[in-house]
Amino acid sequence: MQRATRKGLSRLLVGLLAVAVLSIPTATNAQDVANGQASATVLAILAVAATTGLDFGNVYQGVPVTAAKDNSTTGTAAGVFTITGAASADIAVYMQMPEYLATTSGDDRMVISFNSTDAAFDTTGNVDPAAFATGVADVDPYNWGAAATNVGSTGTSAIFLGGAVLPSVNQTAGAYSGDIIVTVSYIGT
């Protein structure tokens, strides 16, 4: 009887899967929808996404521009990363920050800097930098330490990031770019 129930559930799951697979373009192969027993394990997912890029707006030679992590400076936007995982799971965050932005040709560089309070970690699921709720308000992006130890009870946390660019008075006109890398890992697996 139990076997029949399991088989029925399996067929239901396979049916649902088949409908889902047919409804969106995926690369799921035949082996993935073979018959079998369904596991009851709730599989956790870990994801980090950049929902808003750190934006300094208009930049002029010799005029430093600061983008506040709470969007309080006009014409700029804080960078926003969201972390999604199992509710209340412990995580570790590590950020690699650029020291400068460079032109695509590499013939000039512009200094970018981050101070020890330029990041915030909101554990409520809020993704609006201007509405920081609960978490760690001031985080050193170079040294997360104990700041991000938990993804939060909602399963979603957000990193708000500010910074500053410091163009020189003779900064070459052009387009500058650089990379910020955010690494997230579970510490309980």
């Binding site: 956790a44 996404a49 950049a50 570790a92 770019s177 650089g178 579970y186 697996t189």
Partner: protein
């Protein structure tokens, strides 16, 4: 009848991967607002009996994503205050329990179109005469916009700045050689009574040949047995780990002497498939603090 043609490893892997695919497919709408690249499951287990494994990577964003798979070494490590961090090391790895050098991923680089998913497979090619034990690596899944706009300068403002936001998810990969076991020792418990908090520091040490994965419960009771505070966390001890709990206490309501209770078990993890668990010992410990 169809099952008869599947290999033993295929049959073993089928149930969890059907579930992985189902979870990913049906969770896509929920994660759409926070579009990014999802990685599941959070841990990959290989062994000398099954040297292949896989993860599913899914792009829930509305734009293509360039995904790169790399390996690094990084265990959860704690400082003297019980803060835990993971530092990834991708070169000059000397740890004898690293499997970074002999696990391969296929493919290592891919472009994921919006709302598409891809299976990434892993194959372990361990050295001959590998000693029994558990070997570790981090699978680093990096994603970024595959067609990141190249910034162009605006003639009026002359200078533009673009920051490329690159995301990395580092999940654990474990390779088990031979028979392994998990065993945990609670080496030390320190309790500090501050003005408005009680801090509990636990020193844990893995004594097995595999990492200890479990759940840690810590409770604080006052002299009347009233539960003043409790917390629990998912525990992974690879070697030594120090964890700290801080319980706020209200002066008049908090009656001394109080009791700290620690309960550790490798059962009850719902995020890891039971077939991947190495169940170890349970620890029940209580401490009366005058």
């Amino acid at each position: 009848m169809r099952e008869a043609h599947l290999s033993r490893s295929s049959v073993r892997w089928f149930p969890r991967w059907t579930t992985v695919a189902a979870v990913l497919l049906f969770l896509v709408p929920a994660f759409d607002a926070l579009a990014g690249v999802l990685v599941a499951p959070p841990v990959v287990i290989l062994s000398d009996k099954g040297r292949t494994g896989r993860i599913t990577v899914q792009n829930t964003a509305t734009t293509p994503r360039e995904v790169t798979i790399n390996f690094a070494f990084g265990l959860p490590e704690s400082d003297s205050l019980g803060n835990v961090s993971v530092l990834l090391q991708d070169s000059a790895i000397t740890d004898p329990f690293s499997c970074v050098g002999w696990v391969k991923a296929f493919p290592r680089r891919l472009i994921l179109q919006p709302n598409s998913q891809q299976v990434v497979r892993f194959v372990a090619k361990p050295p001959k005469d590998l000693a029994n034990g558990e070997y570790w690596s981090r699978v680093v899944v990096q994603s970024k916009e595959s067609e990141a706009a190249v910034p162009t300068s605006d003639p009026e403002q002359a200078i533009t700045a673009k920051i490329n936001m690159i995301m990395q998810t580092a999940i654990m990969l474990k390779y088990r050689q031979g028979d392994v076991f998990a065993r945990l020792e609670l080496q030390d418990t320190q309790v500090e009574d501050h003005d408005s908090t009680v801090q509990v520091m636990l020193d844990l040490k893995s004594q097995g040949t595999a990492s200890y994965i479990g759940v840690l419960h810590c409770r604080l009771r006052d002299a009347n047995g009233k539960l003043v505070g409790s917390d629990n966390l998912q525990l992974a001890v690879y070697r030594h780990l120090r964890r700290r709990f801080v319980f706020p206490v209200v002066g008049e309501d908090f009656v001394k002497p109080y009791q700290v209770e620690v309960e550790i078990t490798s059962k009850g993890r719902t995020d890891i498939d039971a077939r991947d668990m190495i169940y170890g010992n349970d620890i029940d410990y209580s401490m009366l603090v005058e």
